[in-house]
Symmetry: D3
Subunit: 259 residues, 6 copies
């Protein structure tokens, strides 16, 4: 069920039965010479909408702009400052609870959002407002990602390329895949981003000239479909697991003195 | 040109020539028993994308959740607190200027956003960061709106109904138009919201049982098309006018002592 | 009853009987070559004190500095940033409730404060702290204003000039009224401040060389008295209406699911 | 020169010659059974206006509500939270510098404002925005205060009573002076507010049943006049001293490495 | 009992019996040519740990960096902005109450922290979260300080020198005491920091070339021991007094209308 | 060189030659039944002080309280809210640059601080204020940690136990190691904290009854010494590498349009 397409009386029926919401969040940021800047929000939205359709859970509209200052050197990257992003997500999440929502799955497709969504989830958890968890699609299927690609990226690499080939093939510049690979770096390790245990870079532009990592020529629409299907399954299971838990079990443990 | 569909090298060409961005903003909130909750962001997005296509100006992704606490009593309304909304819009607007954008048109379709977008515009103006203006589609064509409808609403009334009939007819519950009219109030005046010069209500639910005003049965897709076309023309002219101004003319006047 | 003139034991008697406070707010900003910068706070204070005397309701001291950045190019204009103003008003309003106040009338005489006072009123309403409404004197008597003046201004125009002639005639430079008229603009429409539906100016200095609009020579002390009397009557009625409502009726409607 | 009474062209002449502003700040809070709640802002305003008249320096309107939570248990006390007060004062002070003001004297008559005004002054100093100092009238004439009264209070005691007798005698309940004295405490020392070096109270109500300290029967209008005259002289000298300093001398010293 | 040295099960026993915590706070800032920059936090920590040992009360780790911008011109001074300091102290103090702490003694050795700790204490008091008081060692023994030293400083003077001689003699540059005295100023009075009742300086560097006041040659380890012993006794008594009070007695008085 | 032990003239010599500061940060939080709550700050401080001594770089005092709400169910855990922590670290870091510091190494021993220190580092980087990096001791020597322990924890496990055995053996309850192991969980994997790709827990108490993970009986002082030595070497190298870089190389890359 997609919230934005429904009327308020029809949504009333959902809230009588269910208290879970799926919220897609991505970014609008450079993804190399071959992928559209909407890559992350397109993936998040496609997965969230698919799973909402399969399960009947409520999916909200997508948050299209996230925490991407580390891609700002490349034309067109949009971003908000981290504290602003956290407050925006916290605000609409808290307000969703006014209607009876008490568990939220943030369907995320941008690494730069992860810690901020977790911080918001913690705030909602500590105040016993709602149980909200961050879910990043590729972290739900790490083995499959490793199986499919020798050099998976991450940013703008073959796994994201394959996903967009599956979701919106017309937006992939197939003729630039080799350039993407040759103008970027093969992997995070080779980018030399760690020194003596410290992460000593702050921006993608510190590591890669065209903004991407991995071997993009390894992507196909078929692999994209396989990833999409596998991730969707994981997300379905996550939603069902959360829905199944008694609310109290999702809330904080008491202080040890009260056990 | 739609930012989210483009790659960063292709966007680079735009920024070399132009410095204007069109940003659609709406809300996700109840629009009565007959219209989808996405009404406002659907309208804003449709107009912004249309005008971007006609003119070649850059359109960003849509901000789907705005300032709608006054509709919260109706299922599904999403909102962020005003200060959070302002900070979110200010943050991505400021960051757009990093790429060379120095004028922004906020294409807005939600009355509750107006003052907040103007406040953000003022911040950007006072700090000489960019010239950003709020544009609300129906305020650009007041005479046409008055001509077409006897009771135009505003919220969830015939003008919005006609627009969605034109943009996404499948989302309109045509069989509920009479109910919408009969269960709401004819006009703001009849809602009795002013007392001795003061606006004494805070929520839509104070005035209307089903959340809407006006005579929805007066809406047709043809009227919607006429509104859409007329508003688009105004927006085209606004963008061109802003683009034509020297940047200094858009920035604050000096103190009178310096004139 | 004027709070600042009373002792705490004497105020205790008021709080036992009543729970309404009248708070005058204005600005200190340029009002052309002929009017004092205190114009707005002088008007707000005069009306609030008058109505408090007539009705017995409690009037607090005046907030003299408001949201006036749009007049900053003219010498002497004082202002605070909008978020600071909102927080200041919210803070003392919340604190008034500690004594039992649960309804507040913001007697306002500055257009730039309107939206901010309404935003504060909304915060107090949503949190069910108090019912606070913004009241702008000239919006309570629009017909009379239109009747009295061909070109009423608004800013620094004949309606404000007449009011100050009535309240503090010694502060009006009667010998500059023609200059005021000739050096300003006749009306908002002629100032050309709207383009294709968007408000494209941010400062008074964008529109008018001397900071004012309207025909100041149309003002007389008699008209001022008439305005003052009529607005006072409206304010008396508003206070009495609010005082008459049961508190629950002033608080937010429940969610539709709870009706 | 009183800013609120002047027009902008007339103020322009001041700003051409001078860059100092006098800002009166007080509180609206209980002052016992005999004094009006406006006591502090009445005193601040009277001194600031007097000195502005004598010297020709610019006096702004008064900030009537300050930091008085410690008097909240007594009817009618108004207050804003400390951080809100600081931000309000900082905001209008910074904005005054837009007109050329670069030195400000906060004429203060409320002990609870002192540290906050000094904190704001420090912010303006550190950022080299302006030189702003807090001045508290009774701290400028400690010997005279001690000479005139055996038990001077401080809060609501004879020195404040005498001042209001001089400034606005009609607001003093002369028939309650003995009650004021007998229902309060003679001095801070006897209030027992310190324990082993720590200040262990937070509210006036912890120490005194009627909100005041000292022997109010010791106050006369003549003593009030003497205090007023002496404090005014100090304030005149302070303004002149500040006006005489080169701006650089008022700004922060360089780092020792740059000396 | 020192919190950082204990395990959580062992701390559980404390929280069953007691609800008081001692928190040492100082600064890291210049203390002249002869004393280490850690002077203030060393003193606070030594006193807090000593008293915790004598009484069995819980002592937390030390907050080493406080509000010291007024010493920034001298190499190495560390500081945080006042609002940041307040929020940091408030946050951990509130969080301590989660374990059952409801009274806190801030053992302070830096004048610049005083008002900020009192402001935090007020916040905790007003919200009835905890009773927290600021305690400054030298203000608990003013007579002894006056007896021991002709010119006691305050900053970097003989009383602090004597304390560090007692606590960590190896950190005192005994060979620089005369230089310290001769390069500084004898006393606050002689620094000329007050003008007509206003404090007209903001930084230590405005008054003293080497950052210190007083006659450092007057310090001895024996005097340091005497100071340390006397202050410790005061602190013991303060902790015991606070521990003895019923919690309700430490909380705010009710409004006078509820008495 | 330890900042808190030095006088300002002696620190001046350092700032003439060097611009790097080492800042130890930890937490004060439960570390099981066998380790002191100060474990993390003890480790951070020991490493930072050791490396400062070896290299001559400047080490500041330790920040003892960090972001530990996830351990709050266990007695004595102290913490500040994440935004407060970030602001505190940012504030003193920015202020250090006043003295000439332009590169900072945050020596961290608490996982919960990592993302927040990186966020602060990013703020300083984006504003070109300083180059600050977060360094976590055990992430600099992952292979050694894996070699030494079968089940390394992480929280309160053998690697931290061994480190404290080396640094402050008297604080380890050696007789509780078996209990620690048996009452906790062997590893993060066995704690079952991930569900379908999402981290579904927020607190340590969700996973472990006594607050710790791993096999504590595997710890020895010798292993602790080996860890300490290896980590110190890494930190020395990191400091030297950062010191060797030209400042411009550490600052952000320009926008691609400016390359």
């Amino acid at each position: 069920m997609y919230l934005a397409d429904e009327t308020w009386p029809d949504l009333g029926a959902y809230f009588e039965e269910e208290s879970l919401a799926i919220v897609p969040l991505g970014s609008t940021e450079q993804h190399g010479p071959h992928l559209p800047e909407g890559t992350d929000h397109l993936i998040a939205e496609a997965l969230a909408r698919e799973v909402a359709e399969r399960t009947g859970y409520l999916c909200t509209p997508t948050i299209n702009v996230g925490v991407s200052p580390h891609h700002r050197q490349f034309h067109g990257t949009m971003w908000v400052d981290p504290s602003v992003f956290r407050d925006y997500v916290e605000s609409f999440s808290r307000n969703l609870t006014y209607h009876g929502i008490d568990r939220i799955v943030y369907v995320n497709a941008h690494g730069g959002n992860v810690q901020h969504l977790q911080e918001v989830g913690r705030r909602l958890h500590e105040t016993e407002t709602a149980f909200a968890v961050e879910w990043m699609w590729d972290e739900s299927i790490p083995d499959l990602v490793d199986d499919l690609f020798a050099q998976n990226g991450p940013h703008g690499g073959p796994k994201e390329t394959a996903m967009i080939m599956h979701i919106a093939e017309e937006l992939v510049h197939a003729d630039r895949l080799e350039d993407a690979r040759d103008g970027g770096v093969p992997s995070v390790d080779e980018a030399g981003t760690m020194k003596f245990g410290a992460r000593t870079f702050y921006d993608a532009a510190d590591n890669t000239d065209n903004g991407v990592l991995g071997d993009q020529t390894d992507a196909t629409p078929e692999k994209g479909e396989e990833l999409f299907e596998a991730a969707s399954e994981q997300l379905v299971k996550l939603c069902e697991w959360i829905d199944d838990q008694p609310f109290d079990d999702l809330m904080p443990e008491p202080h040890v003195r009260d056990r």
